[in-house]
């Protein structure tokens, strides 16, 4: 969608005052829910996301079980009040697709072969939405999985880059997402740099794509440090209590 809104001013600053390669404010807290095996609360700009992990536990219904490895079920759900116009509760085509790509990204990183016939359920609830909820959700899921003690190769992390007013920028905000030229959410395994999730819509030249991917990966690495800090913070305080 094209519009007359100017997304970058003459000083190179974006609508919310960020520089092109600057992330929105991120806050991560691990272990916030009592019932879940692992959980995480994450604020990313105006996004507020909760993730909870249950499992590994017996996969139900039985026909979904894999005799060789565990299945990872991520379920991305938006609260009815998380968006401007109330969203009808329950899954729609968009959230089903996001659930699928997140499940597949997480499956690659979890040591599923350790838990044949089991399911690892990852529930992601978007409480407040403002562009980039799938990246926020996957990042929260990574922390919740670690908090649940699920064996993983790495802690997965996601971040988006995009193009606004012809310029490649990191982590699109709300207006930038609506009126920008392209959006590129990426999830990686920060230790190896492997790409776990990649989607794109809009228009990028090859050169712009290279730049955007590098930028998103750098963003991922910054967020990854925050994830690790959140997990350390939780377990540090546990250690002190004991």
């Amino acid at each position: 969608m094209k519009s007359d809104i100017k997304l970058i001013d003459s000083h190179g600053k974006r609508l919310d005052g960020r520089k092109p390669d600057e992330l929105r404010k991120i806050k991560i807290e691990a272990g916030v829910l009592h019932r879940a095996d692992g959980s995480c609360y994450l604020e990313w700009g105006g996004n507020k996301v909760l993730a909870a992990v249950y499992g590994p536990r017996e996969a139900i219904p039985k026909h979904t079980q894999n005799p060789l490895k565990a299945i990872v079920n991520a379920r991305y759900n938006m609260a009815a009040f998380s968006v401007e116009d109330r969203k009808r509760p329950g899954p729609d085509r968009r959230s089903r697709e996001i659930s699928k790509v997140i499940s597949e990204a997480l499956e690659k990183i979890v040591l599923t072969e350790k838990f044949p016939r089991a399911a690892i359920d990852v529930n992601i609830e978007v409480l407040d939405a403002e562009a980039g909820t799938r990246c926020a959700g996957l990042t929260a899921a990574g922390v919740a999985l670690a908090d649940a003690g699920i064996p993983m190769r790495d802690i997965p992390v996601a971040c988006a880059a995009g193009k606004i007013d012809g310029q490649v920028v990191l982590d699109l905000g709300k207006e930038e997402d609506n009126f920008g030229d392209a959006d590129l959410p990426v999830a990686i395994s920060p230790r190896t740099g492997e790409i776990l999730l990649l989607q794109m819509d809009g228009h990028l030249t090859l050169k712009e794509f290279d730049k955007a991917l590098d930028m998103a990966t750098n963003g991922c690495n910054i967020v990854s440090d925050l994830q690790k800090k959140a997990i350390m913070d939780k377990y540090k305080s546990v250690l002190e209590v004991e």
Partner: protein, 260 residues
């Protein structure tokens, strides 16, 4: 009853005979309540309520639409509850089941029948009224969802602003037309004892449940009995008394959270 609940049942019943509860509370003692309002910026009003480890988030959204044909001059109020699988290993994704429908309807009744929201003032013009959506999101289930959900709904309603500006129906957003709310208190019965504010284990082994909503002057405004067990008349009277006493305390916490 499967194995684990019956073990819990025996354990809690034995404790009850000694006049004790598993978490050390008295029979008529409520857990700690925390209310936080304005937690969701996209919602017209929102509140997160914690009762012990139970956590419930309620968001209010509003829209302009048609009234019900039988009440053309009143606004519309709808309540929905989602028992999302995030909150408990026993909740499953999918369309609302009987439990979440009962929860939504009990909360709805507490708000609607007591006339907390003055729906007639929500009529904009004939055939055009405000619609209020109360969406209840259970985040962490540790028992007594009824009280947590109704309290969160009230706190969200009392901090909600009608989005007049967004719908180009006025210059400024303004608060909902509200009256003093009734406060819900839930008790359950197992093995002959009645306890207030059931924890998850108590909820799971409960034979009967009673939710009583009382108002400021101590009158009863809504009731709901649930589950297959029964209460005696004396027990019901005791439950009502406990609900009035605790309702007063909870009302103070609510008033403080909404800045009254």
């Amino acid at each position: 009853m499967t194995v684990i609940p019956s073990i819990k049942r025996d354990y809690l019943s034995k404790l009850a005979e000694q006049g004790k509860r598993a978490d050390g509370r008295k029979f008529d003692e409520y857990r700690k309540i925390e209310i936080e309002t304005g937690v969701v910026s996209k919602a017209e009003g929102s509140a997160r309520v914690k009762i012990g480890n139970t956590q419930v988030l309620v968001g209010i959204k509003m829209d302009v639409g048609e009234p019900y044909p039988d009440s053309p001059e009143s606004g519309v109020l709808t309540t929905a509850a989602e028992l999302v699988p995030l909150a408990s290993p026993d909740f499953e994704a999918g369309p609302p089941d009987a439990d979440s429908i009962e929860l939504a309807r009990v909360v709805d009744r507490g708000v609607r029948e007591s006339g907390v929201v003055d729906l007639e003032k929500l009529c904009i013009e004939p055939e055009k009224v405000w619609i209020i959506f109360i969406d209840i999101h259970i985040l962490d289930h540790d028992g007594n969802l009824f009280d947590a959900a109704s309290l969160a709904s009230l706190a969200a309603l009392f901090t909600a602003k009608i989005p007049a500006k967004r719908f180009e129906l006025g210059e400024k957003d303004y608060p909902l037309p509200l009256k003093d709310p009734p406060i819900s208190c839930t008790s359950v019965k197992y093995n002959g004892v009645v306890v207030l504010d059931p924890s998850l284990d108590e909820d799971q082994i409960a034979e009967a449940r009673l939710t009583v909503a009382t108002d400021k002057s101590g009158d009863i405004r809504a009731m709901q009995k649930g589950l297959s067990g029964s209460f005696t008349k004396e027990e019901i009277k005791k439950v009502i008394k406990a609900s009035i006493d605790n309702g007063e305390e909870i009302r103070k916490i609510l008033d403080r959270s909404i800045g009254k």
